[in-house]
């Protein structure tokens, strides 16, 4: 294999934070015009490796070569100049500016007299979008656009600066299904134009759909790099997790007879905001209810209404047959409801606070002694939760921001399960979570139901829904259009059609 084909070559990269080694002697290369999947468990070091390539972090040892020549990448500017572009997981756009202004932020085309020529910017932005074969209005203010457009703007921004390599870190995490499909087509076109793409994802179907080669990292070490034609999905899963996982996505029957008594939760004629319309359903103890629907179908809004975040316009909610008022999250929590929100960074965690503080936040009542909090008790409780949910954390007193995405998600789940709720609502509980952790989370959900709790799972991934739900409600435009017991769902396709309302 000729190394000259490599647009990017990273050799013997090592990186540690505060003496904790995160990457150990990792090699990674990308060829021109290939989609190279980067896989590995949560905390394996994927994002860190890419941040080194982008100039966010500097490597402790090893070398980076770009286009065959050694390159010193000490800042994001260096990386940009070397043709490395990034589609940030946390978008790096200025919401109050227009699409075109964002694309040329810092490199604005200048007109006569050295003033910014906005018209030229719009024109060039149009050219970039038409090369990408997508329709985005360059004059639209970014804050008015949906996440899919933000991502397109990010990609255009990188392309406008002549990026030869695009790094995409879990790009479909915030996209609806048809938006993901549009992104995949765009990736195919970019590849056709000789642009290389490094694609980080926990979803196997995406990796197989897109990638030419795959590199797997495990615990900061390079495990393998192979063409996708040479590896089986089982081998990849085993490589990522470090052990065989079987049937994590197949439904397992539970003994539910002992629980099928009167409903734990009953919702009657619920209306809230624009997106919850006349919703009625009942949930029994020990039952797992899946909520399926397109993005914007009102699944999240229903969860928010049940958790007391959004005001109910009409309808009633009964817990164990008794009417309850759910006017605030506190009331919902007191009633025994917990919500694991869809956006862990914005809604689930105080990122700058420590893991321990985040875990204890809903549990402060439990660790009080008189008016004061009991420090020792808090510490014991948080390390118990960390152990029970196998959160990989070097130090519980360091900010939760420093954990990898999957471990952050575990912290959110752990924090809520600490309150021992009767009804658990999980909104996209496995977003950004690796395959091993995903099967752990699904097991956890099954276990909770077996313990007599009632669970509502919202997910855009059909295999996952079918793996845990006993019953699936399909929402469309805020209303329940189908209520299907699992045994009637033949396969994924059946569910997909039901969601589309066919």
């Amino acid at each position: 294999m000729n190394t000259a084909d490599n647009v990017v070559e990273m050799r013997s990269i090592s990186k540690g934070f505060n003496g904790v080694s995160v990457l150990k002697d990792v090699g990674f290369d990308v060829r021109k015009g290939e989609v190279h999947a980067l896989a590995g468990g949560n905390g394996a070091g994927k994002s860190t490796l890419m941040k080194i390539l982008q100039g966010v972090y500097q490597t402790d040892a090893g070398e980076i070569r770009i286009g065959g020549k050694p390159a010193a990448i000490n800042s994001i500017q260096d990386a940009k100049a070397a043709g490395i572009g990034m589609v940030f997981q946390e978008f790096s756009l200025v919401p109050s500016l227009t699409v075109a202004q964002n694309i040329f932020l810092g490199v604005e085309p200048l007109g006569r007299g050295g003033l910014i020529d906005d018209r030229a910017a719009v024109k060039r932005a149009r050219e970039v979008f038409s090369e990408m074969e997508v329709h985005v209005d360059p004059r639209a203010e970014v804050s008015r656009l949906g996440t899919a457009y933000w991502q397109l703007t990010e990609i255009a921004k990188a392309l406008a600066q002549n990026a030869q390599v695009l790094i995409m870190d879990e790009p479909t995490a915030s996209l609806a299904r048809h938006e993901s499909e549009a992104l995949f087509e765009l990736i195919d076109r970019l590849k056709g134009r000789g642009i290389s793409i490094i694609y980080i994802s926990h979803r196997m179907d995406e990796v197989y759909r897109l990638a030419d080669r795959i590199t797997i990292l495990r615990d900061g070490r390079h495990l393998l790099t192979k063409p996708l034609t040479d590896v089986t999905p089982e081998q990849i899963v085993e490589g990522i997790v470090g052990k065989k996982i079987e049937g994590e996505l197949s439904y397992r029957a539970r003994d539910r007879e002992s629980y099928d008594r009167s409903p734990l939760l009953e919702v009657r004629g619920l209306n809230a905001g624009h997106r919850v319309r006349d919703v009625s359903f009942a949930l029994r103890p020990g039952e797992i209810l899946g909520l399926a629907g397109l993005m914007g179908s009102g699944r999240t809004e229903l969860a928010r209404a049940l958790f007391g975040i959004d005001k109910l316009d009409s309808g009633e909610v009964l817990l164990r047959g008794k009417k309850v008022k759910l006017a605030s999250p506190q009331q919902a929590i007191d009633a025994g409801i917990a919500l694991i929100p869809e956006d862990r960074r914005a809604q689930g965690l105080v990122l700058e606070h420590s893991v321990q503080e985040n875990l204890l936040l809903p549990l402060l009542g439990q660790i009080q002694r008189g008016p004061l909090l009991d420090g020792a008790k808090g510490k014991a409780l948080s390390s118990l939760l960390i152990k029970r949910f196998a959160v990989k954390v070097a130090h519980p007193h360091r900010p939760v921001r420093l954990l990898s995405g999957g471990n952050q998600q575990k912290v959110v789940i752990a924090k809520w399960l600490g309150t021992d709720p009767d009804i658990l609502i999980l909104d996209e509980p496995t977003a950004g979570v690796d395959i091993g952790t995903k099967s752990e989370i699904l097991d956890m959900i099954r276990e909770l139901a077996s313990a007599g709790k009632a669970v509502i799972v919202i997910s855009s991934e059909y295999p996952e829904l079918l793996a845990v739900s006993d019953r699936v409600l399909v929402l469309k435009d805020g209303s329940i259009i189908r209520d299907i017991p699992l045994r009637e769902i033949a396969d994924e396709e059946y569910l997909q059609l039901a969601v589309q309302g066919v």
Binding site: N18, G19, E352, L364, Q366, L384, H395, P396
Partner: protein, 328 residues
Amino acid sequence: MSKANTIMPGDTAASRNFGSMLKELDWRRYVIYIGFVVVFLFFAILLRDQGFLSPNNLLNIFRQTATITVIAVGMTYVIACAEIDLSVGSVAGLSSVCSAMALSHWGLVPGILAGLAVGLVVGSLNGALVSLLGIPSFLVTLGMLGIAVGVAQWITASAPQPILNDTFNLVFGSGNFGPVPGLVVWSAIFVAIGAVVLNRTKFGRQVLATGGNRNAAEFTGINTKRIKFQVLLISGTVASVAGMLYAGRLQSGRFQWGSGDELSAIAAVILGGPSLFGGFGSIIGTLFGALLIGLINNGLILAGLDSSQQQVVRGAIIILAVALARKK
């Protein structure tokens, strides 16, 4: 599934590796203490002949810093909650005036109650406007700063209101508890309560969580509107106590008392804590921030600088300290 609230004793994973903890120790967090010691030693050597180290002078520093310290304790809560309170200085002034007027008309207890009432009313107004109407606290309290000063000036026709009640003067500022000046006792009480409440109570945690990520706090069942209301109420009330400390120490109520203190208090909080953007707060840090400012003021006076030079040097030292303490 085992219950989460069964506590397992003796988990030592966190305390295992002391050596690596020491290495991870973030010295930036302690810059205020280091700065305090450095400035103290600097003045101690430079000004040894001007009596900087005399017990009397040291007590003086404490005495002069007391009101700022008290105000800054309240401000720490506000800033930890990602808000700001610019009205504290003028609340102190208005409280000193109301307290003095009520004292001369109705006596001791009504005087104290009148002073406190100023803080409670202004604090509640600030809190209600910020949390219920969602107006940024910067604007609300900026407006309130003007209103409070204006009212204080108006009702007194700009005249000082002398306080002849000895008990009041003794308790609020002029007296001593044994060898310890009363003002020092007052700041010690506020710092102690403030630190315990912020670090060791549910309320304190909820303030920090609200300031750190309001959305996540809301999703965790914290009534963030109420928390925002409460911190502004606390800040106003604490400022009104500081106003009475001015009144007692200077034995009069005057609309100018406390003017500009909001900036010193904010500086003290920022010197002692890591962020203006909320989520963090350290009352002990705030205390040292206030003391550092007092130390600098005192040292510069002893060094014979006039007040314009003092302002320049003080500003430069504060910027330097914050620059050293900033996060990378």
